[in-house]
């Protein structure tokens, strides 16, 4: 059994760990509120953008000559996966959930003998993926310096993707991120952004629009913007999810630490009591033998 001194030290160390996790939880809670707010505020933009594009694309009669970003290259040989994770750890299953989702998708693609290319956004994803898929990662983007998700960063990622697409580096692009549902639930998502997936296109109307300038020009201008917008949306959702996940992870850790302190305290008291009893017995039996 551990000595009294050892137990005392353990209790102190668990207590100080608990202090840290408690502080992290509170910081995450404060950040979460902000991130959640901006994720919710950002939704109208990406939804509207999607709507406009759906309306536009449903109006295009000539699918053959539609912009490649919309219709795809007509092949699906090379897949580009953009895995978006956080730059910081200690956020529960947040990163591993995305990675798990992405990995199952990767193995599906590789089983089908297709080529796989990976771009990681955020250093944690890169750390986890480079062991198994190191040779597939073509780029790693990290925004450690920027405090909050901002459109400028998303635009940078979007431009890289479009550049690669125009160079013919890939046929299909999918982004992986965590969609924020609530503090305890974040759903890992795989969203195909090139070619644009128009599933769920229920509310497209047959109403005809007037275009100025013509449809092609609008589309070719809008589609790259849409890529950035979708990435921005993913970043916002991700940052809200990260804070939510961290908050509940730290909440758990704090509670576990509390339980541990209780258990250790009982053990400490018990062994203290045992030592006293032992001493007493020694004294008494010593007195008796006289």
């Amino acid at each position: 059994m551990a000595s009294l001194d050892d137990l005392k030290k353990r209790i102190a160390s668990v207590k100080s760990t608990q202090k840290i996790t408690k502080a992290m939880k509170m910081v995450a809670a404060a950040k979460l509120r902000k991130a959640q707010e901006s994720a919710e505020k950002g939704r109208p933009y990406s939804e509207k953008m999607n709507n406009v594009i759906l309306n536009l694309s449903s109006g295009i009669s000539d699918k053959e000559n539609a912009p490649k970003l919309l219709a795809g290259t007509g092949q699906d040989k090379v897949h580009l996966c953009v895995v978006m994770t956080s730059d910081r750890g200690l956020c529960g299953g947040f990163n591993s959930n995305i990675i798990k989702k992405a990995k199952s998708y990767f193995s599906k693609i590789l089983d089908e003998n297709k080529e796989l290319k990976i771009i990681t956004v955020g250093s944690k994803g890169n750390d986890q993926l480079k062991r198994t898929y190191g040779n597939k990662i073509i780029e790693n983007i990290s925004f450690k310096e920027s405090k909050n998700a901002n459109y400028f960063d998303a635009d940078k990622v979007g431009k890289i993707i479009i550049e690669k697409f125009e160079a013919g580096d890939f046929d299909i692009c999918t982004i992986f991120y965590n969609k924020f549902k609530n503090v305890i639930t974040q759903i890992p998502q795989a969203q195909q952004i090139i070619p644009l997936n128009d599933e769920g296109n229920e509310n497209s109307s047959d109403e005809s629009y007037e275009f100025e300038p013509d449809e092609d020009e609008i589309l070719s201008n809008l589609l790259p913007k849409n890529i950035s917008t979708q990435i921005f949306k993913a970043m916002l959702e991700n940052s809200a999810s990260e804070q939510g996940s961290r908050m509940s992870a730290m909440d758990n850790a704090t509670r576990n630490a509390g339980e541990m302190v209780d258990k250790l305290t009982i053990e400490y008291n018990r062994s203290r009591q045992a030592a006293i009893t032992k001493e007493l017995i020694e004294i008494i039996s010593g007195a008796e033998s006289l």
Binding site: P44, M49, Y151, E212
Partner: protein
């Protein structure tokens, strides 16, 4: 019959402006300024740098935009833009910054005609603001 319609301006960060009682909006569309009244035909267009003028009962409001998309449908006007400023509380220094940036860009040699046109437009609008 009321002559009012709804306008919604959103930027990536948030819903910038929502108004239910707008009577007229003038937007700097790509091919020239375009006034939109109630029951305008459904239209999608681009914006070039310029001033959006929103007229409602409570008076006129002016916004400076650099780019964006307008969609008008069923008396709902949506404007999507990544850079918008309310003119009434836009700082002179912000204007100067934007102007400086635009002028720098115009000075670059490797830009194509369309960007050049847009940048020139931007400079022109920003200069009239001062």
């Amino acid at each position: 019959m009321s002559e009012e319609f709804k306008i919604e301006i959103v930027n990536p960060e948030k819903s910038f402006l929502v108004k239910e009682d707008v009577s007229e909006v003038v937007v700097p569309a790509f091919e020239g300024e375009m006034g939109i009244l109630k029951d305008h035909i459904s239209i999608i267009s681009f914006l070039k740098p310029g001033i959006i003028k929103v007229s409602s009962k409570s008076g006129d409001e002016n916004y400076y935009v650099e780019d964006g998309i307008v969609e008008f449908k069923n008396n709902n006007l949506s404007i999507l833009t990544s850079s918008i400023y309310n003119l009434s509380d836009m700082d002179k220094s912000v204007q100067q910054d934007l102007l400086k940036k635009a002028e720098e860009e115009a000075g670059k040699s490797d830009i194509n005609d369309q960007t050049k046109y847009l940048v020139d437009q931007k400079i022109e609008v920003l200069k009239t603001l001062n």
